[in-house]
Amino acid sequence: MSALSTAAATTNATAPLAPWRNTLARLLADRWAVTGLVVVASFALIALGAALGVWAGDWAAMTAPGWSPPSAEHWLGTTRLGQDIAARALYASRTAFEIGLAVAVAATLLGGLLGGLAGYCSGCRASTWVDALVRWLTGVLEAIPFYLFVAAVAFALKGNPWAMHVAMIATFWTGTARLVRAEVLRIRQMAFVEAARMVGLAPSKVLVRHILPHTAPIVLVQGVIAFVAAIKAEVVLSFLGLGGQHSISWGQMIAESTSEVLAGFHWNFIAASTLLFVLVLGVNLLADGLQDALDPRRAARSTPGPGPSRSADGRLARAADIG
């Protein structure tokens, strides 16, 4: 008995990790994915340093006359108020990571849980209404243009600094929920789920322990996509004056610079948009590599982007919507 349980314990400890190790190996063999990984890691380091106060802590200080050109002291010059642009741009990567991580984690968890629940309840006699409810909610949230939804939420929350985060989380979960629901519907029919049910496990345990772990690849990729979508959306929202005001972000810098560039002062714009572009490109490369590494068949088809069956899905419409 004890020998049996230790044997089970050791296989449990190593077996679930093997596919992930293969995934990692495939990811590291893809040079574009590695490039993306390096970019994201460097930005994470910059953000961490800014969060810990190692650098760029004085981004708000007015240390020089306004609109100074680049110099040894201020590498990228200063803003209209005399703040160091380089420090602001570096500190803004902290803001980007804060928004990206908060939205990605919350939205994918919400989407994974609701999508899993919907898929599991779909077609059950007693609880199929849960599926109908989640699908209805998804459809409703996807029918309202994103920026209008954010404006409406900001309207309802009356200037709450978290209005933007709330609006993004409330809309970004739907794509994950759709995909996870479809995956759960597929997995639900497999023999091991039937076996778990036969043994007498409660439905909630079957779902959480046996089905949801298999949706991890989808949730992971969706998390990366939500991360980059949140960062891009923040830029547009700040540009429209709907973003947060309590810190400095690339979106705020670009919004600030719109009148400056036409007057011939480019540094604010160049600093913010270059960092933004490099980070977003890095995350996109990583997301592509991750998708290929997690689904080798997809890589073999060498079909970038989601498969055709998903081409009509709301996330993509949403992604184009966010721009």
């Binding site: 209805w136 909610l137 459809g139 409703v140 949230l141 029918a143 309202i144 243009p145 994103f146 920026y147 209008l148 939804f149 404006a151 409406a152 939420v153 900001a154 309207f155 309802a156 929350l157 891009k232 830029v235 547009v236 540009f239 429209l240 004056g241 709907l242 979106g251 670009i254 610079s257 719109t258 560039v261 036409l262 714009f269 948009s273 933004l276 572009f277 977003v280 490109l281 996109n284 490369l285 592509d288 088809r301 060498s302 079909t303 970038p304 982007g305 989601p306 498969g307 055709p308 081409s311 009509a312 709301g314 993509l316 419409a317 949403r318 992604a319 184009a320 919507d321 966010i322 721009g323």
Partner: protein, 323 residues
């Protein structure tokens, strides 16, 4: 044989189902925008009461404005407004919201249509080219460019386009919409169109390419090739016709979102008096009657497009009707 007999019946079932889904979605989107913008929205009575109001005068005013009524009665009133297009008067200009929309919608359509048409046609052409040469250098070039394109924030694209064509080259105006004839229309619409095409091209090419690649792997393509059909004939006569449904779906689904969100950015930055500018001003000044009309109407339109599209596909493609 029986399929042919069942088709009208399947169609009737599909219509009934779509009407039920569409009705539920309509209730959802209107309820959501009502709750966010009317129920939690600003209390107009504060602006209207004079100095030092008593509790009675405030209450009287709210009674007059109908703000003391039951939640469902007010929701019913909102629904009536949306259905009859009797949308009240703007808080900031006092103009009828319906006539503001009647004036700005054509401007937005004129602004956004060339970019949408060109962007999608170009994306389809690039997708066909890339998919035909799958894995070759043309494919890699196109997919590489589309990753770069989707990593550029729409805000950056707009500012760079303005800077390049408006300031550096000085070919086109940067602000305003002074359109009398075709020449002045082209003059004003060129730069926004270029920005729209650039922003949408990356995502669209990727998704369309995936659709075409999937379609090229089918048996009928192999057969057509074996018969010696030319690439042009295979791509345009066979593949494109089959790929058109998922592609059209994606375009249709992204339409309301792209039109509203895209025009929001383009029109604010280029100073064009369309729906986007109207919405932006309403967001900035907290103009509730305008905002709730735009959000409500665009969501309702989206749901209607969705339902109609689904039924149209079933009509066009008999395979779908039997699913």
């Amino acid at each position: 044989m029986s399929a042919a007999v069942d088709r009208p019946r399947a169609m009737a079932v599909a219509i009934a189902g779509q009407l039920a889904v569409g009705g539920a979605l309509l209730v959802g989107v209107t309820l959501l925008s009502f709750v966010l913008m009317v129920h939690f929205g600003p209390d107009a009575s504060f602006g209207l009461v004079g100095k030092n109001p008593t509790a009675e005068t405030i209450d009287q005013l709210r009674e007059q404005l109908g703000q003391n009524r039951n939640f469902w009665l007010r929701y019913g009133e909102y629904l009536r407004e949306l259905m009859t297009l009797d949308l009240g008067y703007s808080d900031s200009t006092g103009e009828r919201v319906a006539s503001m929309l009647a004036r700005s919608v054509p401007v937005t359509l004129a602004l956004i249509t060339p970019g949408l048409v060109l962007g999608n046609l170009l994306a389809i052409a690039l997708a066909l080219l890339a998919a035909w040469h799958r894995g070759g250098w043309i494919d890699r070039l196109i997919t590489g460019f589309s990753v770069v394109g989707m990593s550029l924030s729409v805000v950056i694209v707009i500012i760079v386009c303005q800077l390049l064509f408006g300031v550096v080259l000085g070919w086109f105006p940067v602000r305003g919409w002074n359109v009398q004839d075709l020449g002045s229309y082209v003059h004003h619409v060129s730069v926004p169109t270029l920005a729209t095409v650039f922003v949408s091209l990356g995502y669209n090419t990727r998704v369309f390419r995936a659709v075409v690649v999937e379609e090229l792997g089918r048996d009928y393509v192999r057969t057509a090739r074996a018969y010696g059909a030319s690439p042009v004939r295979i791509l345009f006569r066979h593949v494109l016709r089959n790929a058109l449904i998922p592609i059209a779906t994606r375009i249709l689904f992204s339409l309301p979102l792209v039109v509203v969100s895209g025009s929001l950015l383009l029109e604010t930055q280029f100073g064009i008096p369309g729906v986007g500018r109207l919405t932006f001003d309403a967001i900035a000044s907290g103009d509730q009657p305008v905002l709730k009309a735009v959000v409500g109407l665009s969501a309702v339109l989206f749901v209607l497009v969705q339902v109609t599209a689904d039924l149209a596909y079933r009509w066009i493609d008999p395979r779908l009707a039997l699913r």
